[in-house]
Amino acid sequence: MLIKVKFFARIREEMGRAEDQVEFRAGLTVSDVWQTTSGGKPMPDSLLVAVNMEHVKGDPELKEGDEVAFFPPVTGG
């Protein structure tokens, strides 16, 4: 099973793509996904993360089929 990964705004441009996939394994966390998809880049301090479209903090473990999104601070409205 895969973890679906999405990037938005400046992060999307820096990653050079809007979506990616990561193979699921037990104990996989958000930062593991970032490491794999970014090729080892450090996580930006201001990076925001959503799992299954909910904001998350820290470095939670993922479940099979989760969707993880990485994006910069929001600037709507």
Binding site: K6, F8, A9, R10, S46, A50, M53, H55, A69, F71, P72, P73, V74, T75, G76, G77
Partner: protein, 148 residues
């Protein structure tokens, strides 16, 4: 309650008027508070020509629904209308509309303020501005107030 993302320009006042044509509680509404955010021609001290607004399809809608539900739980509001632009936006166009209706003024004003503040700080939207020197991502929301 109506929450919509709009790719095309909208006229905030006309939207409120149309929506109000069928009030949820005619005669029970004593107060309406409408906030309209509009595209300025300047930001962070620089001239801005136009803007593109990116969002996270699915999560953005979900987040806006949650904000409005929270507002309904916290204040005695009868109805909420929330519209937000996406895509390419020109100077002077409306970006966001938040309107709430209630029996009393405090509920409407507080609910509208809560929704726009949460939206600004947490809803997944990202602005990219076209300025003289090219394009730039907006890194943080402007403060709520003119700097003094």
């Amino acid at each position: 309650m109506l929450i919509e993302l709009r790719l095309a320009p909208f006229d905030a006042l006309a939207e409120v008027k149309n929506y109000q044509a069928l009030p949820a509680n005619p005669g029970k509404i004593g107060a309406g508070c409408i906030f309209v955010g509009t595209m300025r021609d300047f930001n962070e001290g620089e001239e801005v020509r136009s803007m593109t607004l990116e969002h996270y399809p699915g999560m953005t809608e979900k987040h806006l629904e949650e904000i409005c539900e929270q507002a309904e739980n916290q204040w005695a509001v009868h109805d909420i209308l929330l519209l937000h632009r996406t895509g390419d936006i020109e100077v002077g166009e409306d970006i966001v509309l938040v309107a709430t209706w209630s029996a009393h003024r405090g509920d409407a004003i507080d609910a509208t303020r809560f929704i726009i503040e949460d939206l600004k700080h947490r809803a997944p939207f990202w602005k990219k501005e076209a300025v003289k020197s090219g394009e730039r991502w907006v890194d943080r929301n402007t403060a709520g107030y003119a700097s003094s």
